[in-house]
Every structure is written in C-alpha cells, then in structure tokens.
C-alpha cells in the first residue's frame, strides 16, 4: 500500500541530488512554470484581489464545513447520485471495491487523482484482479515505470523524453520495434492510440475533483488532456474521489477559485477542459455514466480543522509552491517519500502521517518564503512548518546534537554579559587561527558547513568589545 519513506528524507534527497537526469529535467521545467505564473499574474489586474477572495471563500467554507457537506450531499442525492463517507484510506478502498464488484468491473479508467494515490487505490484494484489504467499521460508513463508521481499536477516532470521512449518500447511490445519514437509528438501519438482503446474497455471511471459545489451537488475537474472527461463519459459508473475540504458553496465561488487555479499552476488562464459534472446521465442523454458516486474522504482532515494547521485545508492543489521552492527544485518530488511533495507536502504529510513519521519534511526548508508568496489562497506555509518544528521540539523529536547546540546558543544569548565574555575571547582565538587565509577549510564541530564551503574567519575583536573600547567610525558626508 502507499508506504511512506519520509523518514528517509535525507538519504532520499542525497540520492536524488546525485541524479543528473533529474537535475536536467528539473532545470528544464522550472522556468516554464515560474515564468508562466508570473506572466499570467501580470496579465490579470484583479489577480491579487482574486487571491484574497479565494482565501476568504475557502476560510468561510471550512468554518462551516459540516453544513456545506450536508447541503452538498442532499443535492447529490436529489440529482440521482450517491455520496459515500470514508473515514480512512482503507474505508475508501473498500467502497471503491464494493462499487466495482457491483458492476463486475474488469477494468477501471483513472483520471488523475492525488486522493487515489493517498489511498493506494490502484494497488488495491490490481490485488483484486481489476485492471487500473491511468489515462493522464504523465500518470500513464509513471504507471508503466512502476513509479509514483513526483509532482501533484505534472506527475512525470522528473523524466526525460529518453526515459519515456525507453518505457514505451519496453511495454508496447506489440508495436514495430524499428519505429521512430524519439520526439515528444511521436511519443504522444503512441500513448494516445494505446489509451484510446482502453477508454472503451472499462466499466468504471474514477476521477478526482478539484472542487465540489454545494449549490448544485456538482464535482469539477480541471485537465488539459481531456482524459478525465473520457474516463467519466464512457464507462457505466463514474466514481469521484474527493477529500472533505474540496467543497465550495456556489458555482460563483468555484469560478473565483478556477480563475486563480490554472494561472498559479501552469500559467494558463484556464485549462483546456474544466468540467462540471452533476449526477448520472439524464433520461434521454445519449452518453454519460448510469451511476454517479462521490466518496468523501476524511483521513485526518477533520483533525486538522480547529488546529493551528487549519489554514492548510485551503489548499487547492495547484502546485505553485513546489514550482517555486528551491528545495523541491533541488531534490525533486520523490525525495519527499510520499504522495505530497514540496512545501504543501511538508505541511500536509505530518498532519496525515504524524510528525514522528514525516518530521523531516517541515525541517528541510530555509523559510525563504517563496511558497507563501505564490500560494493562490495565501497559506502561510513557512509558519505552519514552524508549528511542526515546535511540536517536534516539545516532543523531543529533534536530533540530539542540534538540540544541544541550540540550547547552548540560547543559554548564552539570554545572558549578554556572559555571551560577550565568551565570544570576545572565542572570536579572537578563531581570528588568530584563521589569520593566514582569512577562512577555514575545516573546523571542529563545523563539519556540516565545511563539507561544501569555506568558513570565513572572524575579523578579531567583536563589534561590541571594540565599541566599548571607544572605537567609532570616521565621519564622512551623506545627503
């Protein structure tokens, strides 16, 4: 099942840092996303105000979540759909299996869904003899490779076209081995042809939902490929997997969120396909599913409500934070070891897995603040990461050496006279030791620093001791 390796973050990160293919792939994608968002924001004068409104809509909904969930459920039922409530990932798996069994499903087509990753739906289906086919191109590629997504909206961002070609050749063995398959257009064509067949073969289609609308009982998906649409229009059964906090009150509220979603994610003003689905097909409809099921997943969200992490429930899964995060851009998504990478993963994963399991993630941040700067719903991500660090500190989960070092520093910092005495001497000693070159290539206790950098030597006497001795700067002129 979806096992987390977040405990091994450091080792995972080291491995990914050494991966030159990954480095090339990330370098290629980075400017694309950040440049795209910047352009989109610049082209919409109302963008900042829309971010504020999106934040307010999510806050309002979260603060009245139970009301909106019940209102939503009522509407879904009115239009002939069925709402299921899943407390845990296992509950979600059981419900999906039950529905699939009820129509004797042999194959399930999947639109991209991070909730399905969180609940390890594919593994469960395969274990029960049901073929799960990822239809999103990026998800399809990583499914062939037996990998997990490395980004919440661009699952295969870590791969080069060479790696995609290699996977296609290895798996599409019924095709001519001498065919030309190097360039992205030929790769796309091949995927399109293969998946086309599969669209008509599944009894069940599973999608996620970017939004659920209480007003109408609708679910909304946002794609560029159209795969989520084909996955839900052709099969007999459409299952929507959504966590509780996906809900918004009205279609107008959904419009506001949609306006900031694609712009923040890829820089598009609107994705190619934004689809509002309401219930099963109507009488007289020539296509569409006969059954419409929505599985509402809790899996830790209701616990985050009312806590100091409540803001995280505003997340609309755009991926802007990881696109702009220098840590994510260095190690890629797999280093995070579970479903959700980057800054949002660093806040969410400890909430869903526990801080002792996922504690590394909120620590592996320099708090540069770029994530918060670009978050369309203004989640204070560094602050929330700091809250996790506070919890770890209180639970004594932080590594011993760091704790001792910081404790020592705080001890002196709270005692200015002692601090000045100790540092006055120490800096002079270090300055003398480093006088020849002005820096240290190695120094006891400074291994973390000097592994990769020289350590500049102190100048000598501290500022405060010099000031106390009466030293003052020469006067000059400023205007």
């Amino acid at each position: 099942m979806n096992v987390s390796t977040t405990r091994n973050f450091k080792a995972n990160a080291a491995e990914q840092l050494a991966n030159e293919t990954l480095r090339g792939a990330l370098t290629k994608s980075k400017g694309h996303f950040t440049g795209g968002r910047a352009t989109a924001a610049a082209n919409l004068p109302e963008f900042e105000a829309l971010r504020d409104q999106a934040r307010d809509i999510k806050n309002h909904t979260i603060e009245n979540l139970d009301f909106y969930l019940e209102a939503y459920e009522e509407k879904v039922t009115d239009v002939g759909g069925q709402v299921h409530w899943a407390r845990t990932a296992e509950d979600a798996r059981n419900i999906v299996l039950e529905i699939c069994r009820s129509v004797d499903a042999k194959a399930v087509n999947k639109g991209k869904s991070m909730i399905s990753e969180e609940c390890a739906i594919n593994d469960m289906l395969e274990a029960n003899g049901i073929r799960a086919v990822e239809t999103d191109l990026g998800e399809y590629i990583i499914q062939l490779r037996g990998e997990t997504p490395s980004h919440i909206i661009a699952p295969a961002v870590h791969l080069t076209k060479g790696q995609v070609e290699e996977s296609f050749r290895a798996n599409h063995t019924h095709l001519d081995p001498d065919r030309v398959l190097e360039e992205p257009p030929t790769l796309l064509n091949e995927a399109r042809t293969i998946l086309r067949e599969k669209y008509f073969q599944a009894e069940v289609g599973i999608t996620g939902a970017n939004l659920l609308v209480a007003e109408t009982g609708s679910s909304i998906i946002v794609t560029n490929e159209g795969n989520g649409d084909l996955s839900q229009l052709i099969p007999k059964v459409h299952i929507v997997l959504a966590s509780l906090e996906k809900i918004v009150p009205t279609l107008e509220d959904a419009s506001t969120i949609l306006r900031v979603l694609a712009r923040s994610a890829t820089g598009q003003e609107f994705s190619s396909y934004t689809t509002v689905s309401t219930g099963p097909k109507r009488e007289g409809d020539p296509d569409g599913p006969e059954q419409y099921h929505v599985i509402l997943l809790d899996n830790g969200r209701s616990d985050m409500l009312g806590s100091e992490f409540q803001d995280m429930l505003r997340c609309i899964r755009c991926g802007a934070c990881m696109n702009h995060c220098p840590v994510y851009q260095s190690v890629g998504g797999h280093a995070y070891g579970w479903v959700y990478p980057g800054p949002m993963g660093s806040v969410l994963s400890p909430g869903l897995l526990g801080v002792d399991e996922a504690g590394h993630l909120p620590n592996a941040s320099s708090f540069c603040g770029r994530c918060e700067e670009v978050c369309p719903v203004r989640i204070p991500l560094p602050k929330l990461m700091r809250h996790w660090r506070e919890q770890e500190f209180e639970k004594h989960l932080s590594p011993g050496a760091a704790r001792v070092g910081l404790g020592l520093w705080a001890f002196f910092a709270k005692r200015p006279k002692l601090y000045q005495l100790a540092t006055g001497l120490e800096m002079r000693v270090l300055a003398w030791l480093g006088r020849k070159r002005g820096r240290f290539t190695s120094l006891p206790l400074a291994g973390g620093w000097t592994k990769y950098r020289e350590l500049p030597a102190p100048q000598g006497r501290t500022f405060q001791s010099r000031w106390k001795l009466g030293e003052r700067p020469q006067a000059g002129g400023a205007q």
């Binding site: 139970d66 649409d229 229009l233 890829t266 396909y273 020539p286 409500l305």
Partner: protein, 242 residues
C-alpha cells in the same frame, strides 16, 4: 458501515470547530441564503466590452490557445465554411454532427459531398461538428451542455472538433454561463426538468499535454484541432441549449 462513518466524520468536524451539533438555525438560514443568492465575486474588467468587443475578445483569446477561428455572416455560409476547412486540413468530408436545432438551421444539403451522421461518435469518427450554447469572452472558452441534442463525447472522441457559434451567444464570464444554466433549469420548456445538464464542458482550445519534457503538444486525448465558426447573424435569441 457508511452511515456511521458519516456520523463520525460530521461529529469530528463539529468537534474540531468547537460545536457539539450542527450550526444554529440563524446561521443555517444565512448559509442557505448565501447559496441561494449565489452572489458574484470579482469578474475581471477585461470583459467590460460591448457585444462586438466581446466577440473580438473571444476570438483573440481562443486563438491564443491554438483554436482556429473564422467568421461568416449567416448560417447559410456555414456548410461551405466547414467543407473548406476540412479540405484545407486534408480531412475527409465525413462528420458526426450533434442533432441540435442550431445546426438544423444550416443548409447542409447544399454541400452534397459532405457525409453527415447525426448522433453519438464512435472511435472511427475523425471529425465532429457541434454548436455551442454559450461562449465566454474572458478566456476564449466554449461552454457545452450535455443533452439529447448534444452528446458530450462529440467534444472529445474525434480528433477534429468544429464548433458553430452564433455571435450573440458570446457572454462575458463564466458566471454568465452559470446564469444560463440556471435559466434553463427554471424554464419549463427547456426539457431540463429543473436539473442542470449532466455535464458542462468548458473548452479552451484543443486538448494538450506538457507531460513530456514540458513540450506543449496538442491532441493528448481530446481533439487535436478545435475550429470555431462564428456566425455573425446566427440568431437574435439569448443563449440556449443546442
């Protein structure tokens, strides 16, 4: 079982929000009113244009996302325009077409060479022709409503999708589409029986993917080509179902 899961989840949500039960009646009434009022939030000012301006904006935005757009004066020119387009693109003059009233009004029989089947597409269909009930100038977005006269699969299965759009159906923003949906729901004659369409597809350009090295490629699963024929004098009515 699901019923107790439901109660457990709602209980957990309420407890976290500091309540022992549902919101009080006053709050519930306010929240219901908020839903019923479906007030608009900010709508970008770029849509503050007159009708002609909106059509121009629609075209500009649609072309930016690689839809192709042409304009004809009235419905009588549509079959010829579609036929010419297919020829230009080296596509067979063989289409599957939505069985809707808007398209009924065009003289397709004028173009004897075009093979037209009205209905639902199959895998072998290469070209679909539909109308659009409404289009959004803000981002060059078409809005399609599923129904007996418009199978949604027409929007996705064939590689080429041709859309006939009367100019009067171009509206400013997504909110206007939703008002059109609500109007149909409230209209006894619409055949909607008080329900929204099962599927509302907002379509902005052809299908695409950037999943392979961020290279933008058209035609990932949905259509590779989206061709929009704007009919200047298509009709005088407000947006309606095709």
């Amino acid at each position: 079982m699901s019923a107790s899961d439901r109660n457990t989840i709602l209980y957990s949500v309420r407890r976290s929000l500091g309540r022992s039960g549902p919101v009080d009646d006053g709050t519930a009434a306010k929240l219901r009113a908020r839903i019923a009022g479906h007030a608009r939030n900010i709508v970008p000012a770029r849509t503050d244009l007159d009708d002609a301006g909106l059509v121009d904006l629609f075209q500009t935005m649609a072309e930016k996302v690689f839809a192709t757009v042409e304009r004809v004066s009235d419905m009588s020119e549509v079959p010829g325009a579609v036929g010419d387009y297919l020829r230009r693109e080296n596509l067979p003059a063989q289409v599957v077409m939505a069985p809707d009233e808007t398209l009924d009004a065009a003289p397709w029989s004028d173009n004897a060479l075009m093979d037209i089947r009205r209905g639902t597409p199959v895998e072998a269909d290469q070209v679909s022709v539909t109308s659009a009930p409404v289009a959004v100038a803000e981002t060059g977005t078409l809005a399609m409503f599923s129904g007996p006269a418009h199978p949604s699969t027409l929007n996705f299965i064939p590689e080429t999708h041709v859309v006939v759009l009367p100019a009067s159906r171009v509206v400013k923003a997504y909110e206007d589409v939703f008002d059109a949906v609500r109007a149909q729901m409230g209209d006894a004659e619409s055949g909607r029986n008080g329900l929204p369409p099962r599927t509302v597809n907002f379509i902005t350009g052809p299908s695409r993917s950037g999943d392979i090295e961020q290279t933008l490629l058209l035609g990932a699963h949905g259509p590779r080509r989206l061709h929009i024929v704007i009919v200047e004098d298509g009709e005088q009515d407000a947006p309606q179902n095709g």
